[in-house]
Symmetry: C2
Subunit: 387 residues, 2 copies
């Protein structure tokens, strides 16, 4: 098996040498880090020590909210993973395997999904009945280990997530050599890639003054149909619910590199609040990515608990809160980044008092284009949002 594998690798290497792409600087750096991870094994062994990896702890206990930077960060705790330890040897081997798979991807200039990587690396270890991985769920946390260990985003390891979300607006960008004019994308829009790192996506001309990010594709279609982005000179995105990594990273880059304010039009419910929280402060599970994903200055321009009265909405559009909604709302009110914000506390308290939630779509009961012609323009004019 070992022999066979070497042969296969050699064949693959020969096959790809000719067309091996020139590596971008960022890719060279990631390769260096991956090679460094492997070199550690050798150097530790030479010093007659047990090879090990100190992997930053990915648990709630090692996550904290950085009040100055205003996003979630990982702490400094690590767990040592030893090769010569019966309970850790397998995950040690898996970590090295993931590292080697990612190196292969980067060298070939290719990307794959986390499911693809799982299939790439899954095999039965010769002479045993042991598989390197049984399920994808064995492989996913190891990928996250490698990410935090190297301090690399998944995208830099050439792994892509599922692709969701679209964009239109006054922005031109270059996507792997193709010039994309987001102001000429019709009703379909530009599908936001899952890898939007600067090596793949370069911003060109941008006339837009802000980004309006909406929760759902159906609401995005309303705004695009009404050409909101043209009238208000902005960029319009959606993430089909909780935005995937590509969308979050793109919003982060639009904000940081082009200096565009990000407005989030979300539902008046705990799920909408939570989406905002993730866009703004990062997700608790993936705290180590916050630095390149979170947008602490993102603004919430979504439906508010007071809108029921303010917009004179019909009682028929109210959706009763259930137990889970109430529980989630209280949890969110307790997040460190909402805890000291009076406006947010008031917002969440009023939703609990109302005992109902409101969807953006419900504004259609006023008029088909009420949301694009009145609701959002009024909030922008009055600077009436939460942050």
């Amino acid at each position: 098996m070992a022999k066979k594998k070497v042969r296969r690798k050699k064949a693959a290497a020969t096959k790809t040498t000719a067309k091996r792409p020139r590596l971008e600087q960022r890719d060279r750096k990631t390769i260096q880090e991956l090679v460094g991870m492997a070199d550690q094994v050798v150097s530790t062994a030479r010093r007659r020590r047990d090879p090990h990896l100190d992997i930053p702890t990915r648990s709630l206990s090692n996550v904290k909210f950085n009040r100055r930077k205003r996003f979630i960060e990982m702490g400094n705790n690590t767990n040592r993973r030893l090769l010569f330890n019966l309970s850790q040897a397998k995950s040690y081997m898996q970590t090295m395997l993931v590292g080697s798979g990612c190196k292969q991807l980067i060298e070939q200039g290719k990307n794959t999904s986390i499911r693809g990587l799982y299939y790439m690396l899954k095999h039965t270890i010769e002479g045993t009945k042991e598989n390197t991985f049984e399920e994808q769920s064995d492989c996913d946390p190891i990928i996250e280990d490698v990410e935090v260990f190297l301090g690399s985003l998944r995208e830099e390891l050439h792994l892509y997530a599922d692709k969701r979300g679209e964009m239109v607006g006054n922005l031109q960008l270059e996507d792997n050599g193709d010039l994309i004019d987001c102001s000429r994308m019709g009703s379909g829009g530009y599908g936001i890639p899952s890898i939007v790192e600067p090596s793949a996506i370069k911003f060109k001309k941008c006339r837009a003054k802000f980004v309006l990010h909406v929760e759902k594709g159906t609401v995005w279609q309303r705004f695009n149909e009404d050409k909101f982005w043209r009238k208000h000179n902005c960029i319009l995105t959606h993430g089909a619910g909780q935005p995937p990594r590509g969308v979050r990273r793109l919003l982060n880059r639009l904000h940081n590199e082009l200096d565009l304010p990000i407005f989030c039009l979300l539902d008046n419910d705990p799920w909408g609040y939570y989406i905002y929280s993730v866009i703004k402060q990062g997700s608790i599970n993936l705290a180590y990515e916050s630095q390149r994903m979170a947008i602490p200055k993102a603004r919430y321009i979504g439906l508010r608990s007071k809108d029921y009265e303010r917009c004179n909405l019909s009682p028929s559009v109210r959706i009763d809160l259930n137990d889970n909604d109430r529980k989630r709302a209280r949890q969110i009110a307790g997040y460190p980044w909402f805890e000291h914000k009076k406006a947010w506390q008031k917002e969440i308290a009023l939703m609990l008092k109302n005992n109902f939630k409101l969807e953006v779509e419900s504004l259609i009961s006023k008029d088909i284009s009420y949301v694009t012609e009145q609701y959002v323009p009024d909030r922008l004019t009055d600077k009436d949002w939460l942050d």
Copy 2:
């Protein structure tokens, strides 16, 4: 309330008259049909008869497979819905309400989601505590009733579905006035709109010789990254699982108007078979749309049960069938359009005998680009597919 409503309607009419768009021929026809539906009430009343609607029956008993056309069709059974019948008066009123909402959308040249229409029409009937609709699930079947009654696709009633799926390839099209060159869409692709009727999407230049439709966004990314569509001069689409209406209708138009064969690259599992079945013959639930959605000549180029041996795949990529898989596989084998196809019977029998399924992603265990450089090109060269 009645008065108030009239006033609101009038206001809306005045507001939109100025910018009311010139209606496309298809829209004028749909309006005529909607008006005809309403006129029936008046003319029936004048003849001193009970107003009623004869709505084609949307149930399995009224669905049949047309062996000549090779897709699922509705039969001729109808259910009569009477205004003066206590158990039917509400759904009669709801049917008229949906018709009136769609007319309003078409006249204003706007589209909305089925959730949007539900919110548009939901209100408490004055003087009662009765709502026109309680839940969206009350409204959705009524929309389908109106569709079958008028013989209009949902899209012609100006209702859009959620938007999923992307496209790249050697095709230029016009989307609501914007020229989209699908060969210059980078890694992101063109987001397939949910409404792709000829009034919105016009095909321009097409050099492509066929369409490769893949099941998942992650597989699509592999094919796009490897520029498969450029090498093989084709169009590449995906539908993020079971393709939404917009994707199915677009494939149907590409096939019928541009004469392009449609190849479907799906997983070797009952879900993959089922997706193919829906693309090919239409869905049983929405049989009345088959005529404009189904593609009887679509070809299955997905993973086959024999591929485990043929491609010499590692045992580690097999996924055991569960009870539900076996049940679904037998059901699908019994579909009238698979029943008499020897190759399909053999395919499904072999999967049951194997007792495992295979995903397209598993081919990465051979090589990262095995699927784009070998698997699909070989099948195309050998004309080795199922239909």
